[in-house]
């Protein structure tokens, strides 16, 4: 059994009140809790205060508005993937939601939680005793990165399944804090640092995700060892050019602290450029060279899927 340490718990009804509570050190927001509770059991996070998103109305509901779909950050991945507009206009987002962990977790975990997911590493996402026996790691309590001992930084990976698709769909995240409201493009939300991977402050509360309804052709692919439970070995989304003259784009994730954007003038060149631009590290389930090769394969498969669907509809 992995007991939780004691903490205080408050369930405010407004995002700005949550922000005020989250300004204190050692406070964390809990929505679905599917990653947070595990990390707390592993003593990766030891918050003194949990702020529940459960009663915050601004974080709920899925509503279309002026060419955008506004999705509450507290909406579960199950609700998002089953929403009619998401299924019809944003199929890559629906597909991405349905590849997260398991259907039971999809009924608990939220879209906001997925966007704010902690970076992951085989030396970090482990029980406290496991980590202690290894002398801990750079990201938590230690001084050495076991993945890259000669490196300077933390290489924990951004592994959130919905991020590449939301990035290429042009989604924006709305944050509320005591200093006001601001919208940040999903593509501007992440930093190249496994320990400090978000560009927002801890007291900024992600309330809504706004996705433009532009019918961009985006394909999502997730490579994993088992077709359930596992995080990705390679995660890609590919977007076809919206207009003549625009490039093909890929976002490659689960291989670095920040998702990687790759652009190519031709569909044929995208997979090779993605391969060259990715430097995945080995995990206990897959070697680095194999993961790197599979970046090329998965991008090529996503391009194929888009070309086929265009041929079908045209």
């Amino acid at each position: 059994m992995l007991p939780l340490a004691h903490f205080e718990y408050l369930a405010p009804t407004e995002a700005v009140e949550a922000s005020r509570l989250l300004a204190s050190p050692d406070a964390r927001l809990v929505a679905g809790g599917t990653d947070l509770l595990v990390s707390m059991k592993h003593r990766l996070f030891e918050p003194r205060l949990l702020v529940s998103a459960r009663r915050i109305a601004e974080m709920q509901g899925i509503v279309p508005a002026a060419g955008w779909l506004s999705i509450g950050a507290s909406c579960t991945l199950r609700d998002v993937s089953r929403h009619g507009i998401v299924q019809q206009r944003l199929p890559a987002l629906a597909a991405a939601c349905r590849t997260v962990a398991t259907p039971t977790i999809q009924a608990m975990a939220t879209l906001g939680g997925n966007l704010m997911l902690d970076t992951r590493c085989m030396y970090y996402n482990q029980p406290a005793g496991w980590r202690a026996s290894l002398g801990y790691c750079l990201k938590r309590e230690g001084s050495v990165c076991h993945v890259a001992p000669k490196g300077r930084g933390c290489y924990a990976t951004q592994a959130a399944d919905t991020v590449p698709a939301l990035w290429l769909l042009g989604a924006e995240a709305e944050f509320v804090s005591v200093s006001g409201t601001r919208r940040i493009r999903v593509s501007d939300l992440y930093r190249e640092d496994g320990m400090n991977w978000l560009t927002v402050r801890p007291d900024e509360v992600l309330t809504r995700i706004h996705v433009p309804l532009e019918d961009r052709s985006v394909a999502h692919r997730k490579l994993r060892t088992r077709q359930a439970i596992d995080y990705a070995q390679v995660l890609v989304a590919v977007a076809a050019p919206a207009q003549r003259g625009e490039p093909w784009s890929a976002v490659v994730s689960s291989v670095a602290p920040r998702p990687i954007l790759v652009e190519s003038e031709t569909a044929e060149g995208l997979a090779e450029l993605s391969f060259r631009g990715s430097q995945p590290l080995s995990t206990h389930l897959a070697s680095a060279p194999w993961r790197k090769k599979m970046v090329r394969v998965e991008v090529a498969r996503a391009v194929d899927a888009l070309l086929r669907s265009h041929a079908g509809s045209g």
Partner: protein
Amino acid sequence: MSDEVVLTVQVNGERVRRLIPASRTLLDLLREDLRLTGSKHGCDVGDCGACTVRVDGLPRLACITLAAEVQGASVQTIEGCGSKEAYIVDALDKHVASQCGYCTPGIVLCLASLFDDQADADEAAIREALGSNICRCTGYTKILAAAREAAASRSSA
């Protein structure tokens, strides 16, 4: 103090009102406080599905759910399964789809949730849903056979 919560929930149709530590998981509330030990501690980190219960009809992993987060909700455990879920239990029994039995309560609740949502669940839907539940005894073949039979008996009922 806010490290304690007055929790009011329905558990298997009965109203429960308790003062609990905020750090109480739903699984420990069920097993330790209410002595409903049908929901199991497996991995304890949300991977295995042995602790699956239904909260307002949807499947939920009780080991990584704070009891405080189901305030006001309706919780169903295996102890609350009866004639409505008998077609699932009977099919598992007939196909000997339970050996040590540790995963079985979670599988019953997972399938009950699936079939209530999708009466015509096909093979792909069953396999996708059962991706949530790990069994280390049966190799899944018997569980899938039982799930198929349960789906057929429900859609013909």
